[in-house]
Amino acid sequence: MSDELKPDELLDKIDFAPQKGAESDSVSGNWMNTSVQIRPGMYCYAAKAESVETLGLPNARPWNPLEDDWKLPDNWQEIIFNGLKERLEKFRTFKIFMDICVRCGACADKCHFFLGTGDPKNMPVLRAELLRSVYRNDFSTAGKILKKIPGGQALAGARPMTMDVLKEWWYYFFQCTECRRCSVFCPYGIDTAEITIMAREIFNLLGLNIDWIATPVSNCFKTGNHLGIQPHAFKDMLEFFVEDIEDVTGVDCTPQFQKKGADILFITPSGDVFADPGTYTCEGYMILFKYLKDKYGLDVTWSTYASEGGNFGFFTSHETMKRLNAKMYAEAKRLGVKWILGGECGHMWRVIHQYMDTMNGPADFMEEPVNPITGTKFENAKSTKMVHISEFTADLIKHGKLELDKSRNSNRIMTFHDSCNPSRGMGILDEPRYIIKNVCDHFYEMPPNTIREQTFCCGSGAGLNAGENMELRMAGALPRANAVKYVHEKFGVNTLGTICAIDRAALPTMCEYWVPEVEVYGITELVGNALILPGEKKRVEDLRFEPLPGCEEEVEEDE
C-alpha cells in the first residue's frame, strides 16, 4: 500500500475544512445521511473464526467487511441495544460522555487521524457522535419524545440503528487508536478512547473484531504471548540474542526462565523478542539484568507462560483484557517473586497502571516493591507491585549504580517520542528523558505541542498495526512524523527514542515513509550500548552490529 500511495498523494487529500456541498441537499442536511464506504488501505481484515473461538467469543465465522452480508445473528439490533444498556450502567464514563458533549469542537483538530486524513468523521467529536446519535434515539428522553413527531429525529440529532450505521461505526472505531489526545483538550475530559472501547465491546458481541487483534488475543491466551511463540521457541529466541550480545560484548548474558524464588519477574511485550528493532531493546534488558546480577546479585527471571506484557484484550473487551492479564499475577504468585518489573510498552502500561490491580488484584502475595540495590521504595507502585523499567533504570542511574559509557551512543542525535498511554494514562514523562540524558550526548525535544501529554500517536496503536491498512497508518502517523522531520532538519536528529513496543514496530515504517534518515531505538537498547559489563571485551560495535563512534576503521579491518 505504501508503495502504491506516495507521500505527496496522501498529503494532497488533506483538507481541514469539511466540504459542505454534498450533504446540503439532503433532507436534514446532516453528516448522518452520508453512508460509509469501507475503503481498502483504511480497514483491517476481519477476525478469523478460529481465533474468535479460542476465547469462546460470540459469532465466530468467516466474513468480509467489503461484502454486504456480515453474517450477523438475526437479533443483532437487540444485542447492540442490550449491550449499550448494560455498559451505560456499568461505566459512568460512558453514560456521562454520551450526555454532556456540547460539540464545541475543541477536540476536532487534535486527532492524528483527522490531521492526517482530513476525513471529518475522524474528528473525535464526530467519532463519538456516530454512537451518540443512536444513543439519543434509543436512550435519551429528548430523543424518545422528539422521534414521535415528524422530523423530530433530525432535530434531536438522532438516528435509528441500521446496518449502514453499524458499518460506519466499525469503519471509524477501527480508525481510533485510543490515544486520548482529544481528552486532554476536552473541557469535560470526554475520552474518545473510552467510547471506542465500548464500541469495540459491542462489535465483539457480534463477532466483528479485526484479525490483527483477535489472532494475537487467541495466541496470547493459549501460548502466553501475542505472537504465539511456544515456550521452547521463546527460550531459543532469547538464546539467539545471547549469542549476538556475546559477539558484541564478550559476555554471556543467558537469562533465567520460570525460576522459583527469584527476586523479580520481568515481563515485556513479545514484540521485543520477535522483531527488529525491538529485539535490540530486549538485548538491552538482558545486558542490564546480567550487570545487576554480577554486580549486586539481583535475581531476575523471565517466564514463557507470562511472556506477554502487551494486552490486545484491551482492544477487545474489558473481560478479555482481564483474562489475558491474569497471567501476570498468577505467574508471580507461582514463582514466589517479590515484585514484577515491566518492560517498555505503551498500552501494556495503561493496563497495568489503571486496570490490573482492580481486575486481578489484590497482589497481597508480593512485597511492596523496593529496589534492593538503591533501597528506593517505589511508593507509587506499592499496591499493584509492578514497576516500570524506566522508573527502575532512572533510579539506578540517579544512585550511580550503573557504570555507563555514553560516548558509545554519541553518534545518536536523539529525540524522544512520548507514547500515548504512558503519557496520558500514567504520566511517565521525565524518567525516560533522564535516562536518555545519561546514556546519550545529544538530545533535542520535538515542538511542545507534539510531546508529553500533547504527544501524537504513532498511528498504529490499539491493534491497528496491520499491513492491509497502511494508508490509514501512514496518514495517522503524519503529525508525529512531521514533528520528527522538523527536529531532523533543524538539529540533525537521526534517532527517535521510545518506550513502547508498538512504536518500535510502527515507527520504523513511518520513518521510512515520511523521514527516511531517522532510526527508531528503545531506551533500554541505548542503556545496553552504554552499560559497561564486568569483564567485557573492548566494544567496537553497538547491538545492531554497527561500528561505535570512533571504531569505524577497526570494524572495517575485522571484516
Binding site: 475520552d191 473510552e194 505541542n449
Partner: protein, 335 residues
C-alpha cells in the same frame, strides 16, 4: 444544512410570539406568568436531579484519569500535582481550575497544514474559544445573579454591589450593565463560530443552535425592556415577588414583552435537563478529571468485578510439557 439552524431559529420566534399573543390577545397572563414558570422550575429541578442521580447510579469500575503532566514517581522527579494529581487535594485544585477557569479549553490549539515544499503541520494557540466560553458563562452568571433583585425584598447589599460593578461604565440612562452586552456578544460569537467555522459547522446539530437562539432571545427581550421599551418595573417586581413568596399575583399594566421574556426563560429551564446543557452537572462527575492518578499505589475497587475463565499455568504446562522438558525449561510436574 441551513435547516439545522432555521428550525431552531423559527422555534424561538414562535415561542416568543406564542407568549406575546397569548398575553396581549388571549389574556393568558396567569399561564405565562404563573403556571408555566412554576412548572418549568419544578421540571428543571426534578430533571436535573434525575439526570445527575442517573449518572451517579452508574458504576466507576476503573480509575482512569487522563494524565496531563508528570506523575508522582521517584522522589527526585518533580510531579505536576495539578494536571496529574495523586491526592484528593490535587484533584480538588484540578477540578476548581477546570470548572471555574476551563483549564483544558485554555490549552486549545489550532492546527494548520501548509502544503508546500516543507509540508509542515503547525499548531498555534487558539484562545478565542476559551475567551468566548468564559465571557459567555460569567456574564450569564452575573445576569442571573442580578435578576435576584426581582425575587428579594429588600434587595441584599451584595446584589447592589454586583450591580454597581456591572454598571461601572456609567453610560446612558438607565445605566448600562456590561454583563448583558457581553452575554449577547459572546453568544453571537459562539453562534458565528458554529456557522462560519467549517469544522464546527459540520458537527453542529439543531440542538446546538436552539439554546444559542433561545439565549439570544432572552438577552434581546431583556435588553429591550431595560433600555428601549417602557415596562412597568413596579408591576414586574410585584409579579416576581409573588412567584418567589409562593403568593402569585398578576399585576395590571405589564406588557406582552415581559411575558415573552419570562416564557423563553422558562423554556430554557425545561430544555436544560433534556439537553447538552447538562454539562453543567456532568463536568463535576467526569471520571477522567475527578479521579486521582494513584491506581498503582492504592487499589481501586470495581463493584461488578467478576471471575473470568483464564488459561492457567497448569493447563499451559499440560499443553507444552514435553517441549518444555526437551528445551530444559523448568516444569512443575515431570509427567
Amino acid at each position: 444544512m441551513n435547516q439545522k439552524y432555521l428550525i431552531p431559529l423559527t422555534a424561538v420566534f414562535l415561542l416568543f410570539i406564542i407568549a406575546y399573543i397569548g398575553v396581549e390577545g388571549a389574556g393568558l397572563q396567569w399561564f405565562f406568568g404563573i403556571v408555566f414558570p412554576y412548572a418549568a422550575m419544578i421540571f428543571f429541578i426534578a430533571g436535573f436531579v434525575y439526570k445527575v442521580m442517573g449518572w451517579a447510579a452508574s458504576a466507576v469500575p476503573f480509575r482512569i484519569p487522563t494524565t496531563c503532566g508528570q506523575a508522582k514517581s521517584l522522589p527526585w522527579i518533580k510531579q505536576n500535582s495539578i494536571d496529574n494529581p495523586d491526592t484528593s487535594t490535587g484533584v480538588f485544585v484540578r477540578m476548581i481550575l477546570e470548572i471555574f477557569l476551563f483549564r483544558s479549553l485554555f490549552r486549545n490549539t489550532k492546527a494548520a497544514f501548509n502544503k508546500n515544499a516543507s509540508n509542515k503541520l503547525s499548531y498555534s494557540w487558539e484562545i478565542f474559544l476559551w475567551i468566548g466560553a468564559l465571557a459567555f458563562h460569567y456574564s450569564f452568571l452575573v445576569v442571573i445573579l442580578r435578576h435576584f433583585r426581582f425575587f428579594t425584598s429588600p434587595v441584599p447589599s451584595c446584589l447592589k454591589m454586583l450591580e454597581y460593578f456591572d454598571g461601572i461604565v456609567q453610560m446612558g440612562l438607565p445605566g448600562l450593565f456590561l454583563s448583558g452586552v457581553v452575554l449577547l456578544a459572546a453568544t453571537l460569537f459562539l453562534l458565528a463560530r458554529r456557522i462560519f467555522d467549517a469544522k464546527v459547522n459540520y458537527i453542529s446539530q439543531a440542538a446546538d443552535y436552539f439554546p444559542l437562539f433561545l439565549i439570544i432571545g432572552i438577552a434581546v427581550t431583556g435588553i429591550s425592556m431595560r433600555y428601549f421599551t417602557k415596562v412597568d418595573i413596579i408591576g414586574i417586581k410585584t409579579l416576581t415577588m409573588g412567584l418567589a413568596t409562593l403568593n402569585p399575583t398578576i399585576p395590571e399594566g405589564v406588557g406582552g414583552l415581559f411575558y415573552s421574556h419570562i416564557f423563553l426563560v422558562s423554556i430554557l429551564f425545561v430544555y436544560f435537563p433534556l439537553s447538552k446543557l447538562m454539562h453543567m452537572g456532568g463536568v463535576f462527575l467526569s471520571p477522567t478529571r475527578n479521579m486521582a492518578n494513584n491506581t498503582r499505589a492504592k487499589r481501586h475497587i470495581n463493584p461488578w468485578n467478576y471471575d473470568v475463565k483464564t488459561h492457567t499455568y497448569a493447563e499451559y504446562e499440560d499443553h507444552f510439557r514435553d517441549k518444555m522438558i526437551e528445551a530444559g525449561l523448568p516444569v512443575d510436574k515431570k509427567e
